[in-house]
């Protein structure tokens, strides 16, 4: 990535109080409670289904609790919990390979709608497109874009290299744009559609 993306850590409105921000170590048993909301939101973004998300959060809580001795006090508890959650999600998913992609029929064919003509993404279009992304793409966008994890933190959580996080995030954004039928600015799209997407998805370098 050439342009430097300002680390847009969401305002306090978005971020629950950080554990150990001042170096003081909070009891993770207590702190865990303050991350339930984020765990659930992250679980929903992976499963796209409230019931599975709840199961996933419950499993995560139990695993976290029984492994708390492995948590290093003073490190990022939220990232640690997110790691457990996503690992559980992907291993469950491997177990029951028959994936229920289309539970809501959201995946229904085609659906490339034109964006509103002012070029703004309508929120509903956005959410529909987001649901169609692969879990890996949703994951990276939530961590980096919504949760405000640094590339470092996201890399640790996802168990991949930092460069992979960046390229995957770029590809995820490009895919989103594609699903929304916009490579931004339709005239750009119609003139040089493929090229524009190629630029958007410059991460096209295969990542690890």
């Amino acid at each position: 990535m050439t342009s430097h993306h300002p680390r847009s850590r969401p305002g306090s409105r978005y971020a629950p109080p950080q554990v150990a921000a001042d170096g003081s170590v909070e009891d993770p048993r207590t702190a865990l409670t303050s991350h339930l909301q984020s765990l659930r939101a992250f679980a929903i973004s992976l499963t796209r289904d409230a019931t599975s998300a709840d199961d996933l959060v419950q499993d995560t809580i139990v695993k976290a609790w029984t492994n708390l001795d492995k948590f290093q006090p003073g490190t990022n508890l939220k990232a640690w919990l997110f790691t457990i959650l996503r690992n559980t999600f992907y291993s469950d998913r491997r177990k029951n390979r028959r994936e229920v992609q289309d539970s809501d029929g959201v995946h229904a064919a085609g659906l490339v709608e034109k964006p509103a003509h002012d070029g703004r993404l309508a929120f509903s279009e956005f959410t529909r497109a987001f649901e169609k992304l692969s879990p890996e793409h949703r994951e990276v966008l939530v961590l980096v874009g919504a949760e405000g994890f640094s590339y470092e933190e996201a890399a640790q959580t996802m168990g991949v290299a930092k460069g992979t996080v960046k390229s995957r995030a770029n590809r995820a954004r490009a895919r989103l744009a594609e699903l929304m039928g916009m490579a931004e600015g339709e005239e750009v799209l119609s003139a040089t559609g493929a090229e524009t997407l190629a630029v958007l998805g410059r991460a096209a370098v295969p990542a690890a």
Partner: protein, 52 residues
Amino acid sequence: MAKSTVSENTRTNLRRQIDENLRRAYQEELEREVPDKFRELLDQLRGKETSK
């Protein structure tokens, strides 16, 4: 070449819009009430520990 400038701008713009929407969508999830069962589960786990 003008084209690449356009691409660069639109790419930045698109990215900004995507991130805005992302945060908004995520925020909606964050505002949902956390089911009691999670806290109950934590209470249970806590209870087990103290009764050990």
